[in-house]
Amino acid sequence: MVLNFTLLFLFILLGVTGIFLFNEEKKKYHVLLILSLLFYLFIAKIAFLILIVFSILVFESGKHLHKLPGKIHYFVIIALCLTPLLIDKIYLTSKLQTSDYFKLIGISYVSFNGLSYLFDIKKGYLKPETNYFLLLLYLIYLPYIFIGPLHRYREIAGQFKENISLNNLNLSNGFRLVLWGLFKHFVLAQRLSITVETIFKDTGTYQGPYVYIGGFAFFLYLYCDFSSYVDIFQGVSQIFGIRLKSNFRNQVYASHSRKHFWAGWHVTLNHWFRDYFFYPLSKYFRAKWQNNILMVLTFVLIGLWHELSIKFLVWGMLNAGWILTENRWRPHFAFLPNRMRESLGIAYHIMGASFLAIIFRTNDLAGSMQALFSFNHSAAVDNWVIAKQFMYIIPPFVLMDYINRKAGEKRIDEYIGSLHMPVRWCFYLSLILLIVTMGIPTSSDAYYVRF
């Protein structure tokens, strides 16, 4: 296991103590840098060196980017920056990662943050950083190195220099997010994970509609798991005064179309591909059909960012195909009243998303498709294993959905902060009670850590 909550709380404890003891206002980021380096070294072991070499490459390249004699040098630098990520995706994931002394964790996020720094300098949006340690902290900042969100340098460097401080609001908001994340993780994600594992590990028994239910459970699991870790890390960072970007729209699982879904799912990754791939190339793809091809390419790349495999290639293409089809057919449903269109849209999206979730989760694409479209009655289970799990899941899920709906566009910590004190405390105590009485007390890595 890469991430664990004991280490994370140790990080908070040391961070708070360090910031409290360190007097120089503008250099408080040194505390977070040292802690991030130490914790990453502890987790990644030898792979830590790759990250240091990468950071030096990005720092030096950034300084000399405008003085490069030709485009070829620029592309060589970009290729060099992508090398650790590509090697990891092609080779290391299956080979070296099994070693206890080499765990190249978070390389996708480090590489994409590093690349966005260089792209922004090239475009003239950013001046090269002269302080290596600040750039190193940007690349290795512990609260976002494992599962994101991705950040642009200009959004975060200023916060490292100016915002690090301990104050009541930061502390309260930070712990609110941590508590909310723990609730989503232990009460919902871990329980959904049991359902998903039961179905996907026994493809001989759980066929036909069960596979579909597995896909639906995985769709919900992925949201609860990924967003819970993001909430926890956002909370940890907020305690120190650093506000991380949100990666999900509240209630993204209740999207009414695929386009609506992608506008609120893994937002920072999508914006990265939009800003550094889709927009720069769209000037060469002006016709509508060309633009559509570019969109397919973008989604294929998003798919392959997860894993270089046929499965994710198919997944990316299906996502693009779905949005293109939706764009084409949307006008035909304009006659429906807005409310009805949205409600039907949610049901329709969940059905499609559950199917795509099967592709995302499966380790055997052909086998899962075969299981989905066949149903062996003699092997079918006549027990309540799955139904029982959903009986446990539904009440806390309804609570989460209610809070998400109430929060609207606000971040959860801000919404909770806006409640009256008695309500707020009832809410805290309810969450704690739910965690200790309904939570599954095992911790597993966030699903997205593998990417």
Binding site: L7, L169, S443
Partner: protein, 307 residues
């Protein structure tokens, strides 16, 4: 430090203390000698004194059909003390306690399960709080990792099982420490079942950690010898986790042949089908039947040679 922060920190610490106190009160609740109570229960349940014990996790619990053994052999008494989520340190501690209270010539089969720090589900019937702390100390002497400490903390602050137990009657809870036949049939492959090839291809070399582990098992064997009680180790026939496989198989190979149940090649070949599985880690009732019949041969061989 501004006053607001002090207030926030104070609130946070108060909450943490309340939670800690609640966990301590709930988790340390046990009778004066829970293990004696368990034995009394098993004796009254079977009406005669115990003789052959099976100590292990849910794999042991679901893999050895004691009712079947009792049908085959009405002379000996069989006790399945499989406890869900139990692991080797806890199994060894139970075996040590059984050695202390069992009559001479008893036989104790101990499952060679993974080394986990978290206590088994119904631990309150096996160990007092002090004993649990002893086991934890022993565990950290063998191995320390933050991931395990994390697991322990998470379980300490989770009261799901205690609440469930609170609303169940004692007999129902104790039924969880008995053979459990599950008719479910898994159809997802046989990757977790041990093969003859797994046993032969495993290296005999042990890491420092595995050597320590083996020393601990030898101590249990020797303690049994002093009391004329035979201790034999069982390698689970299903091991789903790769880390458990790589950790356990070399240790199993290094245990003296007289102190382990050695699977025959024919048995391993026969059981290599998901027809016998409940899930990747457990046998179903059919698997338990086959497994028990094979084990009975070993019981005869062992008790025949020993008594």
């Amino acid at each position: 430090m501004e006053k607001g922060i002090r207030k926030s920190i104070a609130k946070f610490i108060s909450l943490a203390i309340i939670l800690l106190m609640a966990a301590l009160i709930i988790k340390t609740r046990s009778s004066s000698d829970p293990f004696q109570n368990l034995l009394k229960y098993t004796e009254s349940h079977k009406k005669t004194s115990p003789k052959i014990f099976f100590v292990g996790s849910s794999r042991m619990r679901m893999g050895i059909a004691v009712d079947q053994l009792e049908k085959i052999d009405s002379v000996r008494q069989f006790y399945n003390l499989g406890n869900n989520r139990s692991s080797i340190l806890y199994n060894c501690r139970t075996a040590e306690k059984l050695i202390e209270v069992s009559p001479k010539n008893s036989l104790i089969y101990v499952e060679l399960s993974d080394l986990l720090i978290t206590p088994p589900n119904q631990h309150q019937y096996f160990y007092s709080f002090e004993e649990s702390l002893e086991i934890l100390k022993k565990h950290f002497a063998l191995r320390f990792s933050f991931a395990e400490l994390n697991e322990l903390i998470l379980q300490f602050f989770n009261f799901r099982l205690e609440i469930k137990n609170h609303f169940s009657d004692e007999e129902r809870i104790l039924n969880e420490i008995e053979y459990y036949a599950d008719e479910l049939n898994f159809h997802g492959g046989t990757s977790s079942i041990i093969t003859q090839d797994d046993l032969t291809s495993t290296s005999n070399d042990l890491t420092i950690f595995q050597q320590k582990y083996l020393v601990m098992l030898r101590k249990v064997i020797n303690r049994g010898k002093q009391k004329h009680i035979k201790v034999k180790f069982i390698l689970p026939v299903t091991i789903d986790k790769a880390s458990e496989r790589s950790q356990t198989l070399p240790i199993y190979k290094n245990i003296p042949a007289t102190n382990k149940w050695i699977y025959s090649a024919a048995f391993l070949e026969k059981i290599h089908s998901d027809f016998f599985l409940r899930d990747l880690n457990h046998l179903n009732a059919r698997g338990a039947h086959l497994h028990t019949l094979e084990l009975f041969k070993d019981i005869i061989a062992t008790t025949g040679s020993q008594f």
